[in-house]
């Protein structure tokens, strides 16, 4: 990873398409030169006219028409080269954009899972969409523009000085002056202060807009949209006020710049008149003066283009920084000499783990050791926040452990190549995620090369065949975004079908039946039973009844395993598991009533407590 910043970093990014960029630069230069041809042609025509002013009939008509045509040709070639150069830079830019997006999304895929869950996907999405586009602005527009301006300016200055030094100075001094005023204003400390304030209030307004929109449903429910609106309105007004203040500050500076650059003739003419009055009859000088008067706009026009350069560059820098911040995030390292497990017991060996640095003081997992054997079910139970899901997420290496190790068979999972590891473990997560795609493809994700019969078999095994057949287009029905929305239970069964199709030797179930409704739940259990045969199964369950017969129950609390054993043993030990079992039975017996509820609760607790 490089540590270059700003423009240097941008050029580095652009350098990935060096050839195209050079072509674009050359074409832009050529275009800049050609664009000056019409001005020059007009000058030559004027000169011809001056020479024969007294008797116009003697002027060389063919020559003047030739210059007229040259002006058009020059302009046309200028346009064509501008287009060609623009295309070169645009193609380069769009390719770089594409490359950056692929690189970023690939990189994100390799990052520990915690990175993405730790921040809003909105911010990441914004980086991949908007920040990346800022790079496009620079490469496709700003860079060729810069070349264009530079070539035009240099060429013009050279020509001007060759023609007449004094007029050239009269032309350049105001330009320099205009820029000086501009720069002095922008770099002033008050300006910087105000700029920062303006940006801060903008950021604040953006954040409050997000909060406003996101919270709207909840705010509405409590009938407080007016307050919420008022808050957002305040931030909006604050941004407006800072913005106005800032523009007020820039007012005179940018107006001076604009007026001066737009009326260079006002500076050239007095010098010209002075010189002309000393040598009134000179055709040569008169034509040079006319040249300056006609050409002046040729030099100032492109300058307007770069007037906002400072601002855009600041914008771009910010975008590049965001991109680099993602790219600088270290990804989960791949083993140098990967090996593959041959047996599939899962062993945690004195594992300590914490999420990120903020939680450094509290380990999410502390000294976890257990072995989940092949062909057996290992169940994780405990209060929420005890670390059950963390264990499940460590097996596929979504995070790396701090100390200790996790082994599959005899192989440390850090020694297994990610694709191999993923092929070894199948998951059914708490919230099932379906792609915006057909039902068929959503199942086939489990094993993309599976023949259709296997996909249908998996769907049948997961008890989803029947409801899929009921969908408008059966297996070809699109899910989500204008397609069909499935219920939570149906989505989950599709996720199970995926896992069945994958048929990996290790199965991790995270609260897999949480959202199933009664009808589905029954079918889900059947599906899971099929799936679990002869596998190493790690299951996180809240409904304790579902894991009563598990070969091993690990009871977790505050990141530690506090009890372990089988159901009966744990019950008779009378610890946390016993307490949980009691409240579980109490909760399962609950029914909503009206009146004297608390008494009823006490009663239930007593009843099941014994």
């Amino acid at each position: 990873m490089t540590n270059k910043k700003g423009i240097a970093r941008l050029l580095e990014i652009a350098g990935e398409k060096r050839g195209l960029m050079i072509v674009s630069g050359l074409l832009s230069s050529l275009s800049a030169i050609c664009m000056l041809v019409p001005y020059a042609s007009v000058y030559f025509i004027l000169k011809e006219l001056l020479e024969h002013a007294a008797s116009p009939a003697l002027a060389d008509g063919a020559k003047m028409i030739r210059f007229g045509v040259i002006a058009l040709l020059g302009f046309a070639v200028g346009l064509i080269t501008m287009y060609a150069g623009g295309m070169a830079s645009h193609i380069a830019a769009f390719r770089i954009l594409y490359g950056l997006r692929i690189k970023l999304s690939g990189h994100i895929g390799k990052l520990p899972l915690g990175w993405l869950t730790g921040k809003s996907t909105g911010a990441v999405k914004k980086t991949l969409e908007h920040s990346v586009e800022k790079v496009e602005t620079f490469i496709a527009h700003q860079l060729p523009d810069l070349v264009h301006v530079a070539v035009t300016t240099l060429l013009m200055i050279a020509v001007m000085f060759t023609l007449n030094v004094w007029l050239a100075i009269a032309c350049i001094v105001p330009i320099v002056l205009g820029f000086a005023v501009q720069i002095a204003l922008i770099s002033g400390s008050v300006t910087k202060e105000n700029l920062k304030r303006c940006y801060d209030s903008l950021e604040r307004m953006n954040a409050s807009a997000v909060q406003y929109v996101r919270g709207m449903p909840a705010v509405k429910v409590f009938g407080q949209t007016v307050q919420s609106f008022r808050q957002f309105h305040q931030d909006m007004i604050r941004y407006r006020d800072y913005g106005v203040k800032l523009t007020d500050q820039f007012q005179y500076g940018s107006l001076i710049f604009k007026v001066i650059l737009g009326s260079l003739a006002a500076f050239i003419l007095p010098v010209g008149v002075f010189l002309l009055s000393r040598d009134p009859g000179s055709v040569a000088f008169a034509s040079v003066l006319l040249f300056f008067l006609v050409m002046a706009p040729g030099i100032s026009a492109p300058m307007f283009k770069i007037m906002f350069l400072a601002e855009t560059i600041r914008d771009i820098n910010e975008g590049v920084e965001r991109i680099d911040r993602i790219l600088a995030e270290p990804h989960v390292p791949e083993p140098e000499h990967p090996s593959r497990p041959t047996s599939f017991d899962v062993t945690f060996d004195h594992v300590f783990f914490s999420y990120g640095s903020e939680h450094a003081d509290t380990d999410a997992l502390a000294d976890i050791s257990f072995t989940a054997r092949q062909g057996e079910v290992t169940a994780l139970v405990g209060p929420s926040g005890a670390g059950k899901s963390t264990i499940a997420n460590l097996v596929p290496r979504f995070w790396n452990v701090n100390t200790g190790s996790i082994r599959i068979g005899d192989v440390d999972i850090r020694e297994i190549a990610t694709p191999d590891l993923m092929n070894t473990v199948a998951f059914v997560f708490q919230e099932s995620f379906l792609f915006y795609d057909t039902v068929y493809n959503n199942i086939a994700v489990g094993r993309p090369d599976a023949p259709p019969e296997d996909v249908y078999a998996a769907a049948k095994a997961a008890q989803c065949h029947a409801f899929i057949e009921d969908l408008p287009l059966g297996y070809d029905t699109l899910i989500g975004e204008g397609g069909v929305y499935l219920s939570g239970g149906e989505e989950q069964r599709i996720a199970v079908a995926r896992a069945i199709l994958k048929n990996a030797p290790i199965l991790v179930l995270d609260e897999a039946t949480a959202f199933a409704d009664p009808e589905n739940e029954h079918e889900m259990q059947l599906a899971l039973k099929t799936l679990m045969k002869n596998k190493t199964v790690i299951v996180i369950a809240h409904r304790l009844s579902t894991i009563r017969d598990a070969e091993q129950i690990l009871v977790m609390d505050s990141g530690r395993i506090v009890e372990r054993g089988r159901h009966e043993g744990l019950l008779s030990a009378g610890g946390l598991y016993g307490r949980m079992w009691n409240s579980y039975r109490q909760a399962a017996a609950w029914h909503m009533g009206k009146g004297e509820v608390d008494a009823e609760h006490e009663h239930a607790a007593q009843h099941y407590g014994g």
Binding site: F433, S545, H591
Partner: protein, 582 residues
């Protein structure tokens, strides 16, 4: 006109001021130009008429005039600048608050359907673009069109033949742009589609990253994302590549006028029917007259883009707001009459009629997708029914102010949104004027007091985005505390306690029992046992009510309910392991 409407987010009047002042400034810009032409005439004069000497005094006057025009320009530019930049902030702020205000009145159903990130971006990002368009781009473009037209009129007086030749190619350019606008629009919308698609795929990638990782599909291997990025690249290049030549040929056409003018001028000059000075004036003006037009054409693409962004905003502003001003009546009987409802083309409820008297306890049960939750949403007026009516206290709720109606209803749903605020602040959302004691009392009743005290700053702990994280069960209890404080007569409940650990679950149950006491309760239940004591159990299937009655009645009638019940309570229920559920 439509375009202007889009660009200004449905407020074309906001253009008047910037356009007016920009035009004034542009007109002032003609003065130094005229002086320049005069200077050229004076310089030329002694060469045309060798007997007349160079009029230096007049030239100095012209210099003075130029200097004065600098000041004049500066003065004229001030209001233009203020209208362009300064007022833009005001215009954008007004537009933003209009949009935010509108958003507030939209149906909850609509808001839930939209991606909040997208909406927020409309309020901030899209408006920032419009800000630029209103204040800057449009006035500039209008100036760019007005100037050449004025010049054409002025030059016609000087010499109509040259003026005509200078502008002869202009109609061709306009025709070209006009004829190809269809292609441009098509390409533009294709590009937009590719962009939206890439955004959608990216969102999917980020949301599903865990599954994508688990199935070895990260980065390039996630073909759908890769191909959407590739398509976006292809469309971007295509748009640039095809629209570019159109714009550039239009420019070339316009610029070709200069050459035509030179040809005509030379011809007339040699023929003796044109004097040199006029020709010179035309030459000088001809080289510069089209400069503003060039800038305008460069801004054309941006304008198209603005049009699309603005169009989206206009569309949102046109989205019908929830109607109704009446206050809900004091009587809280709720009734559905022949209600039919669907999301887009998916019909969810078909002619459902159901009455829930005040103080009653109604349970909705049935397979998933049968329309249970939709009934709750219709009662809270997230949506209005397609056919039929929802009635409260004998009146159609469509006539009632949606927010006033929501004051009558408390909802405890699965997804709880916590504001970026303290715990106390979050509970206070139930009733804004609640005292600290009332908040703590509500928290106690909702079984949150104990866990709140364990938080670092107790009731003053920040939660929500960037704040302390709470478990699902804790969040749910906070939402119950809110509802306690709100003290609404109707409770809508979506029972979803399945994903919680037993201890949490028991606490929530206790909290719910306290919440529902003495109120009208309508609950979507997954576990039939929970609601066996309901006054009425409504069994739904495929968007219709198939059975209703009390628990015993339904059991004895041996229908769908009886089947569901036995499935949940048969002793041989095939759980993962043989279950002995109480």
């Amino acid at each position: 006109m439509n375009m202007l409407r889009s660009i200004t987010a449905d407020n074309p009047r906001s253009l008047v001021k910037p356009v007016f002042y920009t035009t004034i400034a542009n007109l002032a810009g003609i003065i130094p130009f005229a002086l320049l032409v005069e200077a050229a005439r004076l310089i030329f004069n002694p060469f045309v008429h060798p007997d007349i000497p160079l009029d230096t005094a007049r030239l100095w006057w012209v210099c003075g005039g130029l200097a004065a025009s600098l000041v004049l320009l500066f003065v004229c530019e001030i209001p233009a600048y203020r209208a362009q930049y300064r007022d833009a902030y005001g215009a954008a702020a007004n537009g933003r608050s209009r949009l935010a205000e509108h958003l507030r009145k939209l149906s909850l159903g609509y808001l839930n359907k939209r991606d909040p990130g997208d909406l927020a971006n409309m309020i901030t990002g899209d408006f920032a673009m419009l800000e630029h368009g209103i204040s800057h781009l449009v006035p500039q473009m209008i100036g760019a069109v007005v100037m050449p037209v004025l010049a054409l009129i002025g030059l016609s007086f000087l010499d109509w033949r040259l003026a005509l030749s200078l502008f002869a190619a202009m109609p061709l350019a306009i025709l070209l742009v006009f004829l190809t606008s269809g292609i441009q629009r098509k390409l533009g919308s294709q590009h937009m589609r590719a962009k939206i698609d890439a955004g959608g795929r990216l969102q999917e990638y980020l949301n599903g990253i865990r599954v994508i990782k688990a199935y070895n599909l990260t980065g390039e291997r996630f073909v759908r994302l890769e191909s959407s990025f590739r398509e976006l690249m292809r469309q971007s290049i295509r748009l640039e590549g095809i629209v570019g030549p159109i714009v550039l040929s239009a420019i070339a056409c316009i610029r070709g006028g200069l050459t035509l003018m030179v040809m005509a001028g030379v011809h007339l000059l040699l023929g003796g029917s044109l004097d040199v000075i006029t020709f010179v004036a035309f030459l000088i003006i001809g080289t510069r007259i089209f400069d503003p037009l060039m800038t305008a054409l460069a801004g054309y693409a941006e304008l198209r883009y603005l049009e699309q962004a603005g169009g989206r905003i206009v569309q949102l502003l046109r989205e019908p707001v929830m109607q109704g001003e009446r206050l809900p009546p004091a009587n809280h009987d709720v009734e559905l009459k022949q209600v039919t409802f669907g999301y887009m083309d998916q019909q969810v409820l078909r002619e459902v009629s159901l009455s829930m008297p005040a103080g009653s306890f109604t349970a909705l049960v049935g397979p998933s997708g049968s329309g249970k939750s939709t009934i709750l949403r219709l009662i809270a007026r997230f949506y209005d029914p397609d056919k039929g009516t929802v009635i409260m206290g004998g009146e159609d709720i469509r006539a009632m102010d949606p927010e006033a109606l929501l004051h009558k209803v408390s909802m405890v749903f699965q997804d709880v949104y916590l504001f970026q605020d303290t715990i106390a602040g979050n509970i206070r959302f139930g009733r804004k004027d609640a005292t600290r004691e009332e908040i703590e009392e509500a928290a106690r009743l909702a079984c949150c007091h104990d866990f709140i005290l364990k938080l670092p700053q107790g009731y003053d702990t920040m939660v929500g985005e960037g704040g302390s994280t709470l478990s699902g069960g804790e969040k749910q209890r906070i939402s119950i505390a809110r509802a306690m404080l709100k003290n609404a007569p109707i409770i809508l409940l979506d029972e979803a306690t399945a994903s919680l650990d037993p201890e949490n679950e028991a606490e929530i149950q206790k909290a719910i029992d306290r919440l529902v006491r003495g109120r009208t309760v309508i609950v979507v239940a997954h576990r039939l046992k929970t609601v066996q004591h309901a006054d009425r159990i409504v069994v739904m299937d495929h968007g219709q009510i198939v059975e209703q009655g009390r628990h015993d009645e339904l059991l004895s009638s041996n229908g769908l309910y009886a089947r569901l019940w036995s499935r949940q309570h048969s002793p041989q229920q095939p759980d993962i392991f043989p279950d002995h559920r109480p």
